[in-house]
């Protein structure tokens, strides 16, 4: 049994350059995660799989999370001259914290049984932002199990996985342009709206009826 901290230390001693930090989870589940740097992600993943003590040979779940841009209001004390007297005034300054997309992986060991208590070893990676710098390294070369799941993240969240062998849309159709699982996605009123030839058909039917009436008279 190892805690997230111990796994972090094992990674750091094996890969001194890797930037890894523990992200604490305040919920009763107590499943803390390790946030890894995309640059060293592949090396860390290989280490976790191949290390004889951890042997995390089974990546069960991979998914994306969208954290949109956040507007943060901060109260700052500013020295200001009000009516000729210098005063310290509190002012609210707003700034936007850029959002990011996150890929989350849940790892277990089939060889060793439970490695981390409680629950899985959780890895997370962040993109730089949500718009143009959304590339993360694919972990499919290490765990085949995430092949379809990374395609799904690409499809629904728009994270581009470099090094993925077959990165295509998987659930939405190929011509679909947006990423529906993003928090700010607005769905259209109706995907399948097509004008029906309602009035034309009625007109034709009435003509037919009139013709039939003529014949019978």
């Amino acid at each position: 049994m190892k805690s997230a901290k111990e796994i972090l230390m094992a990674i750091q001693s094996a890969l001194p350059g890797a930037q890894v930090e523990v992200v604490l989870n305040p919920s009763p589940s107590g499943q803390h995660s390790l946030r890894i740097d995309p640059a060293s992600a592949l090396a860390v993943a290989v280490f976790l799989r191949e290390d004889s003590e951890l042997a995390l040979d089974y990546c069960s779940n991979a998914t994306g999370v969208d954290w949109p841009d956040k507007e943060v209001a901060e109260k700052v004390k500013v020295a200001k001259v009000v009516e000729g007297v210098e005063q310290v005034v509190e002012e609210t300054i707003k700034h936007v914290e850029p959002g990011y997309l996150e890929a989350v992986y849940h790892l277990f060991s089939m060889k060793k049984g439970p490695v981390n208590e409680p629950g899985p070893v959780v890895l997370r990676m962040r993109t730089v932002n949500r718009t143009d710098q959304v590339k993360l390294p694919s972990l499919t070369p290490v765990w085949r199990s995430v092949e379809f799941q990374e395609r799904e993240i690409f499809d629904l969240f728009g994270i581009v996985f470099t090094g993925h062998p077959d990165l295509r849309r998987i659930l939405m159709w190929d011509e679909f342009e947006d990423h529906p699982m993003r928090r700010d996605y607005v769905d259209p009123d109706d995907y399948e709206y097509e004008p029906t030839p309602h009035d034309e058909v009625l007109k034709r039917a009435e003509e037919q009826k009139a013709k039939a009436a003529e014949v019978t008279q």
């Binding site: 094996a14 890969l15 989870n25 305040p26 919920s27 009763p28 589940s29 499943q31 592949l42 090396a43 290989v46 280490f47 799989r49 191949e50 040979d57 089974y58 990546c59 069960s60 779940n61 998914t63 999370v65 989350v104 849940h106 089939m110 060889k111 049984g113 439970p114 629950g119 899985p120 959780v122 070369p141 290490v142 765990w143 085949r144 199990s145 995430v146 092949e147 379809f148 799941q149 629904l156 062998p165 849309r169 998987i170 659930l171 939405m172 159709w173 529906p180 699982m181």
Partner: protein, 384 residues
């Protein structure tokens, strides 16, 4: 350790030989549970499969998005529609994840009821999986009808317990929805007692059947190394000889109280997958007998759990169970509001399809149908 010092598991590339005319076929739909929503793009060299890509998504209704727009409880009935053959185990997986997230405890009696319903679900799932597999093989009718005859008996029990035959919705966060109907356990006991005879009947019909052996032995082989790396779970993994059952590893619920074996295969072929399902049904009967014997009286809900105004604290949790088809997991992130911030289903059916190409490469085109049948998927869960 360098990034190159590990083995990557990719399917081998097979070239067409000789005159090398390659025929590309869109195969499907053919599986009884894939009525028009699943196909395979297959490349054939003569009768030999040299490439295969599964194509799905036709049933995609963005279950996860719907769940994120509603309250925690509101998506409970949607979980029934994921794997509609196993609605009660889907309920359990979701309830388990929420219980981890919110720190709820489940009373003893409810735990026993959960085990009983889950094992009944496993039996009827495996029975129909075998029936469907035989149907793919061309045994059109008899084994499937025998399996459905038994399945109907279990669905009668579910109907009495939950009010619904297929979309059973029974579990709640911290327990179960309602007390068992009077005399229900007695009926379960009668049906469980009759079950070994059914399995004997199926085995007498199929296990040493020449056609099954010829078509299934040595076909669609999955190696244990690939199975582990590709995240395959459930009977498919155990048929490949990997001893991994979440009931034994995680001891979720009260599974550590029952004695049961985890059947394992040695060849990882279609025949082993059939055999593992037969053996698992026998083990489930054993678990059911123990659970019915030991079930205590008492409350069926955690008093801390509430239906209205349920807001777990900020955090996240991943909960998983051994569903009949493999590992069914739910990953939830709470931001402290009444809706989940992120709701994710880890479906066994989708991930078990990862190796469909590997199993079919080099096989005959007629075997593809059988290999696909032996995976046992439900498209409601693949596409969500």
């Amino acid at each position: 350790m360098t990034a190159t010092a590990f083995k990557s598991y990719r399917p081998p590339i097979i070239e067409a030989d000789g005159d090398g005319e390659v025929l590309e076929v869109a195969m499907g739909p053919h599986h009884p549970s894939t009525h028009g929503v699943f196909r395979m793009d297959v490349a054939l060299d003569g009768e030999r499969v040299i490439r295969l890509k599964p194509v799905f998504g036709y049933l995609h209704r963005n279950h996860e998005k719907i769940a994120e727009k509603g309250s925690y409880l509101a998506s409970m009935p949607y979980t029934d529609r994921l794997d509609y053959f196993c609605s009660l185990t889907n309920n359990w997986a979701y309830a388990l994840a929420v219980e981890k997230l919110a720190g709820l405890e489940v009373p003893e009696r409810a735990e026993y009821i959960r085990v009983i319903t889950a094992e009944l679900t496993r039996i009827q799932n495996h029975a129909s999986a075998i029936g469907f597999l035989m149907q793919e093989m061309g045994a059109s009718g008899t084994p499937l009808m025998y399996a459905f005859r038994e399945r109907e008996k279990i669905l009668d029990l579910f109907e009495e317990l939950t009010g619904s035959r297929m979309m059973c919705n029974y579990m709640r966060f911290g327990g179960c929805r309602s007390e068992l109907p009077t005399g229900w356990l007695e009926k379960v006991k009668v049906i469980v007692a009759g079950f070994p005879a059914f399995i004997d009947e199926i085995e007498a019909l199929l296990t040493s059947n020449e056609i099954l052996m010829a078509r299934a032995q040595g076909v669609g082989v999955l190696t244990p190394e690939l199975a582990v790396n590709a995240g395959i779970t459930g009977p498919m993994l155990r048929a490949a000889g990997v001893n991994y059952d979440i009931r034994k590893v995680d001891h979720y619920g009260i599974y550590d109280r029952f004695t049961f074996r985890v059947p394992l295969g040695d060849h990882g072929d279609i025949y082993d997958r059939y055999m593992i399902r037969v053996l698992e049904m026998r083990e489930s009967i054993g678990i059911l007998e123990q659970a019915i014997r030991d079930i205590p009286a008492g409350p069926i809900m955690d008093p801390k759990s509430k239906i209205r105004g349920f807001r777990p604290k900020v955090g996240e949790a991943y909960g998983r169970i051994e569903a009949p088809k493999g590992e069914l997991g739910f990953y939830l992130i709470s931001d402290g509001t009444s809706n989940p911030y992120r709701y994710r289903v880890r479906p066994p059916s989708l991930i078990n399809l990862t190796v469909l190409e590997d199993m079919c490469l080099g096989q005959n085109v007629a075997d593809v149908v059988l290999i696909f049948g032996s995976v046992d998927i439900v498209l409601g869960e693949v596409d969500r």
